[in-house]
Structures are given as structure tokens and as C-alpha cells.
């Protein structure tokens, strides 16, 4: 049984979409079923190791007019997407790994811009702790149930979310000022 089929068997109805690019299987599931689905993947599917967790801002990807029409799988897929209403702006990808079979699986969840919240998976994998904080720091996606939802890399007073596509690379001239009263 191939990885795709196995994953489809486990996720059943929760599975929204399954794609493959260069051998990396990517599964899309919805926000509501996220923790449940990941739990099943962990327990039934054997994906017991969370490699990483990352956010992606898709605003540029959909805004950009296609210059070339490509005949690859992904290209046609994206064109189909373009026809409908614009998909949610953000997306969070969970990189799972099965320690027994050494297979990797990407799980992605889309998060709309007006409701930037996701359930936290720190109860499943403690390794999601900092990556979730970082995703909050960089994209502003909040994770409910996270023990310490604070900025991680930027300082606390920082206002913007730097990895969003509309934030300029060179920043907006923020400076850090410190009052030295360490509580």
C-alpha cells in the first residue's frame, strides 16, 4: 500500500486534498479537524515525530499573474484554484515523520486572514512549542492552547509580522529601546 493510500485510509473524510511533488506527499486537512486528524496520523499512521511546523503567506502566490503556462501537475492545479474565490491567505504546514518507516508527510492547513487562529498541537508533540511561537511571531497566527504564546525571535514590543509578504524586507525602521528594569 502506498503512502498516499494509507494516509487516505486513516484520514478518510477529513482529507481535503492530497498532492505529491517530487515524492513529497502533502495532505490538506481543515482547521476544525486538525488536532484529531494529526492525532490519528500519529497513533494509527505511525507518524510519531514532528520535524517542523511552518507558516506560509500565500497572498503573493495568488495575486501574481501567471507568466507561463506550465503543463506540470502543480501548474494546472493552481490554475484551477485561481478560478474560484481566492483561497485563505495563510497556510500552516506540519512536517511529519514516521520513525519506523522513515516516511515523511506534509500536512497543511489553510487559515483565512480574518480569523488567524489554530489549535495548538503541543499536547501531541512538545516539539511544536517554539515553531508555533515562531509562526505567531512571523505571521500572526495564534495557536489556542499553547502554554506560552509570546513572540519568540523579535522583541516583545515589535508590532508587525515580518514574514508576511506585505512586510518589506528592509523593515519599517523599528528600533528596540530597552528600559533596564529587569523584573
Amino acid at each position: 500500500m502506498s503512502l498516499k493510500e494509507r494516509v487516505a485510509n486513516i484520514l478518510k473524510n477529513d482529507l481535503l486534498e492530497i498532492t505529491e511533488s517530487k515524492g513529497d506527499v502533502c495532505v490538506e486537512i481543515s482547521r476544525q479537524t486538525l488536532v484529531n486528524a494529526l492525532k490519528r496520523l500519529k497513533e494509527e499512521g505511525g507518524f510519531d515525530f514532528l520535524s517542523d511546523l511552518l507558516g506560509i503567506d500565500n497572498s503573493d502566490l495568488y495575486a501574481k499573474p501567471k507568466k507561463k503556462k506550465k503543463k506540470t501537475e502543480d501548474g494546472t492545479e493552481q490554475e484551477q484554484e485561481e478560478k474560484g474565490p481566492p483561497p485563505p491567505r495563510f497556510e500552516v504546514v506540519y512536517l511529519l515523520l514516521s520513525l519506523s518507516t522513515n516516511e515523511r508527510l506534509q500536512v497543511r492547513v489553510r487559515v483565512p486572514e480574518d480569523d488567524l487562529e489554530l489549535p495548538s498541537v503541543t499536547s501531541l508533540w512538545r516539539s511544536a512549542n517554539w515553531p508555533e511561537r515562531e509562526t505567531f511571531d512571523m505571521f500572526g497566527i495564534r495557536f489556542n492552547g499553547h502554554p506560552n504564546m509570546r513572540r519568540l525571535l523579535m522583541w516583545d514590543e515589535f508590532q508587525d509580522y515580518p514574514l508576511r509578504k506585505d512586510y518589506p524586507l528592509e523593515g519599517k525602521g523599528e528600533e528596540r529601546h530597552l528600559n533596564y528594569n529587569i523584573a
Binding site: D24, I56, R126, Y167
Partner: protein
């Protein structure tokens, strides 16, 4: 990959009730490697809690990657784990090659392997040396750093830089092994072993060293997996997992080497795993070099790639075993010449987030020992 070595774990630690002294360690502190900061609560010398704060070296590498072309980003990867820049280079190159769907010629793969293992030795040497320095034994550091200089010399003669190597290019490597390597390797193998022996003599069986390291920050294997540990840290906890064996890349499946593993995941085991891995790396280089010699001299080094890379749309994740553990590159391409999103999975990021759990209930001196043995490199931690 289940745990192969069984250990008994018990729950211990201080209770977080009472009035304690807050001690801020870092970011400028001799043991904090320049940019790490830990805010500890201490009861006398015992640590009640230790909250690491990171981001003091957050340079926006991922954002920068979205604004540079694929080949321009290669030099930036040097600056992630600067102790073993070559591993970063190769990891990135391999990720892009996976995206492009090309496979590099075997000779290039062998050169990459040799250089990566040299970088691994260099990285472990620094880690062990710094661990020694932080525990008060300065001399081994100097013996190891000399070996590192020799390795640097080979890097310099191969691709023209000592530390930030920018080795190779997407599609292969640009230069054959330098004459220096052919001349030096037989001697260097011995001198690397000698430096390790010297370190071993000065530290391993010394009671003071053992008291400082054995049983300090011991960690359970299943906890380590849950926290996302990889690399020497995980192996020290008794889980034999190494991407070079588990998900072989390059020609690692054709060479014969062992995975050293510890038992308790304490500082001593981490130190021993690193020491033994250096030995294994020497073994790998020997085998790879033998394989290299069998190839004809004009065997191709590069796969033909266009000058401006425009990988097809898609998203991939590729990970290799860097000296610190699983170093992964997640790249999403939208078909343009710049990556749409690059995410780096640094190995020590996952390890360092468990720091509070690692040092709780130990003493301040152990915190220092623990931090050095984790080999947290701020460049890849904060990116």
C-alpha cells in the same frame, strides 16, 4: 525506530514554590556563545527554572531567501551553522536539486561526502573543545582547534574560503579535490586521531570530568523524541537514529559505518557520542576516498543546469544529517527564479526549546555544561 537501549526513568525536580533569586545569564556571558540568554530562577545554586530567550541573532534569513535567487541564497546558508557551513551548503543544494529533479554525478557526491564529513569533524571538535573550556579544561580546546586549522586549510584549497565556504553549486561541485587533500589526508587522519586521543586522555577518565558530566542533564529517549531531538543529542539518549542510515542520501548507503549511541543522554554520553562520531567520520572519509580514486579523473563534477534556475512549482522538504542533527530545508517554488518560501529546520532549535526541562533541578555549573554539550549555534537557531 524504537528505543534500543533501555533505561529507567523517574520523575524528579524541584517544586516551583517560594521566593527565588532571578539570575539573568547572557546574552553576553562566556558560556552563552554570544547571543543566547537564559533567565533562571535559582535557589542558592540550584536551578528552579530556566527560560531561554532567543532571537538575538535573528537576521531574517528566511525573508532574505524569498528575495534572492536560488544561487544567491547559497552563500547565505553558510551563515546558518557557521561551524560546519558545508553541511548547510550541501543540504540546500540537495533540496534545490530535489526540486529541480536532478541527480548529481557520483564524483560530485563523493566530494560532497568527504567535505561534509570533514566539516562534521570540525564541528564536533569545536563542540567538544568548548565543552572543555566551559568546564574549566582549556587545554584540549587548543589541541582540537589545531586539527580544525588543518581541516580549514583543505577547505581553503578546495573552494577558497575557510569558514563560510559556499562550497559547490546547485548541480554538483565546481572543483575536484585539491592536491592538498591528496597530500595531507594520510597524515591528517593520524593527527585527528591523535588530537582526539589527547583530549580523551585529558578528560574522559578524569574523575573531575566524570563527576561534572556523568548523570548531569540525563534525558529519556522517548521524551527526547517528543521534544524533536535529532542527531548526537538523540543518540546520546539511546535512540539510534541517523539520517545517513535511515534515509540515506548521497552515497552513504555504500559506506560502512556505525552509529555510536549513549545510554542516559547525559553530558558525558553526548561528549562520548561526539568523540566516537569523529572516529566514524574518519572511517567514512577513508571509504569515500577509496571510491573516489576508482573513478576516472575526468569524470563529470557537475550536472548541467541552466544559469538562471527556475524550478517547477511545488514544495519539498529535504533533510540531511548535519553535525547537530536533522537539518532540513523546506522550499516552496512558484516557478520563478526566487523561492517562494524557504524554511530552515535547524537541529539545535528543537533541542534548545527543551532547555528548561533539561536543566531543571541541576546546578548553575550544570546549566553551563548542558548548554555547551547541546552545541547550540545561534546562527541556525535564530536564522
Amino acid at each position: 525506530m524504537a528505543k534500543e537501549i533501555e533505561t529507567v526513568c523517574i520523575t524528579t525536580g524541584p517544586t516551583e514554590v517560594g521566593d527565588y533569586v532571578t539570575l539573568n545569564i547572557g546574552p553576553i556571558h562566556p558560556a552563552m556563545h554570544g547571543t543566547l540568554r537564559v533567565i533562571t530562577k535559582t535557589d542558592g545554586e540550584t536551578i528552579i527554572s530556566a527560560k531561554p530567550e532567543i532571537g538575538y541573532l535573528h537576521r531574517g534569513v528566511e525573508k532574505l531567501g524569498e528575495n534572492l535567487t536560488y544561487s544567491q541564497f547559497l552563500p547565505i546558508t553558510d551563515r546558518l551553522n557557521y561551524c560546519s557551513a558545508i553541511c548547510n551548503n550541501v543540504a540546500y543544494e540537495m533540496a534545490v536539486e530535489k526540486l529541480l529533479g536532478i541527480e548529481v554525478p557520483p564524483k560530485a557526491q563523493l566530494i560532497r561526502m568527504i567535505m561534509m564529513e570533514l566539516a562534521r569533524i570540525a564541528d564536533h571538535e569545536v563542540c567538544v573543545g568548548i565543552l572543555g573550556v566551559d568546564l574549566g579544561a582549556l587545554t584540549p580546546f587548543f589541541y582540537l582547534i589545531i586539527q580544525r586549522e588543518e581541516i580549514y586549510e583543505i577547505f581553503e584549497w578546495h573552494h577558497g574560503a575557510r569558514l563560510t565556504n559556499s562550497m559547490g553549486a546547485i548541480g554538483g561541485v565546481e572543483a575536484d579535490l585539491p592536491d592538498r587533500f591528496h597530500e595531507k589526508w594520510p597524515r591528517m587522519r593520524d593527527s585527528i586521531r591523535k588530537a582526539n586521543d589527547d583530549t580523551d586522555k585529558l578528560l574522559t577518565h578524569n574523575r573531575i570530568w566524570m563527576d561534572r558530566t556523568v548523570g548531569v542533564n540525563a534525558f529519556c529517549g522517548d521524551d527526547a523524541l517528543n521534544w524533536g531531538f535529532t542527531g548526537p543529542m538523540l543518540r546520546a539518549c539511546g535512540v539510534k537514529r541517523d539520517l545517513r542510515k535511515n534515509e540515506p542520501y548521497l552515497l552513504y548507503d555504500k559506506v560502512d559505518f556505525d552509529i555510536p549511541a549513549g545510554k542516559h543522554g547525559d553530558v558525558f554520553d553526548r561528549y562520548m557520542v561526539r568523540m566516537l562520531e569523529m572516529e566514524q567520520s574518519v572511517k567514512i572519509i577513508d571509504q569515500a576516498y577509496a571510491m573516489y580514486k576508482e573513478l576516472p579523473e575526468d569524470a563529470p563534477l557537475m550536472k548541467k543546469v541552466p544559469k538562471i534556475l527556475r524550478p517547477p512549482a511545488g514544495q519539498i522538504y529535504h533533510a540531511i544529517e548535519s553535525p547537530n542533527g536533522e537539518l532540513g530545508f523546506f522550499i516552496r517554488s512558484d516557478g520563478s527564479d526566487k523561492p517562494y518560501r524557504i524554511k530552515i529546520r535547524p537541529p539545535c532549535y528543537m533541542v534548545y526549546q527543551a532547555f528548561d526541562d533539561l536543566v531543571k533541578g541541576e546546578m548553575i555549573s550544570d546549566l553551563i555544561a548542558c548548554l555547551s554539550s547541546l552545541n547550540v549555534i545561534a546562527g541556525e537557531l535564530d536564522r
